[in-house]
Subunit: 236 residues, 2 copies
């Protein structure tokens, strides 16, 4: 009877339930604080029970990425390549927003998960059907880098983290040091936030850089650019 009460208290564990709980927990307490033990506790389960559904923590992280990436809206049909790619990337950005850990976790995976691969495939397809050569598409994908998935490629994580006390004190800006940094920080005119990555309109900065790259791609496509003549080309 006692066991029955315990068993009934929770719907049975599934891989999906484990992954979704992990996503929520990481959203709440941050990715660096997410542990197998805390996740188990959150699910009202003994730690070892998780290992029936994920082989190890790495696989848990892979699964979490797939949950988030799976929420990206499907591509819209019938548009020129540039607005199609632009919309797809901005919709990826919308899906990943709110999961501040996602960028870092995706980047530290040793390879793409199936959902990421499917997403990449759709973006590559937009370039190809838009008249890009395989060669130029390849370099465009590299140039986009993780911006392809909607991450801002800032120098520092904008996420304040759970413990603002560990934040290093703003360096002495009263001294004449870093005059250009000061000028720029002053012009942004936000009293809070780090020099780069905060106190700014992230969405604007993201689209600014994205459009700069997309316009560059379009220019190269029109002039039939190819990497064939690059220095030190194919040696094999």
């Amino acid at each position: 009877m006692a066991e029955q009460t315990k068993a009934a208290r929770r719907t049975p564990l599934t891989r999906d339930r484990v992954l979704r709980a992990a996503v929520v927990l990481a959203d709440d307490i941050g990715i660096e604080a997410l542990s197998m033990r805390k996740l188990a506790q959150e699910l009202g389960v003994v730690p070892m029970a998780l290992y029936k559904h994920v082989a190890n923590k790495e696989q848990l992280l892979d699964g979490m990425v797939d949950v988030v990436v799976g929420e990206i809206e499907p591509p819209v049909a019938g548009a020129d390549w540039k607005s199609a790619v632009r919309r797809r990337i901005l919709s990826a950005r919308r899906a990943l927003v709110g999961h501040s850990w996602a960028a870092q976790v995706i980047r530290t995976r040793s390879g793409p998960t199936p959902a990421v691969l499917a997403y990449m495939d759709s973006v590559i397809g937009m370039f190809r059907t838009g008249g890009f050569s395989v060669d130029l598409t390849h370099h465009a994908m590299h140039a986009l880098g993780s911006r392809m998935m909607g991450f801002t490629q800032e120098l520092f994580d904008a996420s304040p983290g759970p413990d603002p006390r560990t934040r290093p004190a703003r360096p002495q800006e009263d001294a004449g040091e870093y005059p250009y940094v000061r000028e720029l920080a002053g012009a942004v005119a936000h009293d809070e936030g780090s020099v780069v990555g905060q106190g700014c309109d992230d969405q604007f900065e993201f689209e600014f850089a994205l459009d700069l790259l997309l316009d560059g791609f379009e220019r190269l496509r029109r002039q039939g650019w190819s990497s064939a003549g690059r220095s030190g080309g194919r040696t094999t």
Copy 2:
């Protein structure tokens, strides 16, 4: 006498010696395997001895970043803004190459260390003296993001890591899935490496994207671009 032998066996610990040993150790065993305890052992010292020179592990990582960033060559004088910025960024890239952990560590710092701030100041200065408005400089710095420090902003870490066994098996590419990924991967014509981030000429990809951005900046500068008319502008 015994103590004297022990004391003489090692030159006395300094903050600098601790940081340099940490850099070498991270290069060797990877950043995720670097621990205070292993570092102490490497230095022939009890773990707690390190805490005389760094307050905690976070400060150790800050110090490691400064060691690496401090090795970036100083800027060259007397060039147009574009080649000056280009050279500075490529020299940062040279300094960080070989420290595959540096990109990730810099990004996860909650703010810039002094050496990073000094570097950023010099880059910002190049834009400003090159005729860029504060406004455009600001957005250009965001668009460069961590590429400003010479990182490739790839979607996945190219570093294979110490344990290639944990690498997820390449997804089934025999099936008709991911046709565009397959086409692109085939064209790159390297049998080893992940879809994006490996088996490619990293330096070429880096310069390709960098030049695309720099050319875009120059175009905007010439036409006197300003963000003043942006949608939903300053609301305060």
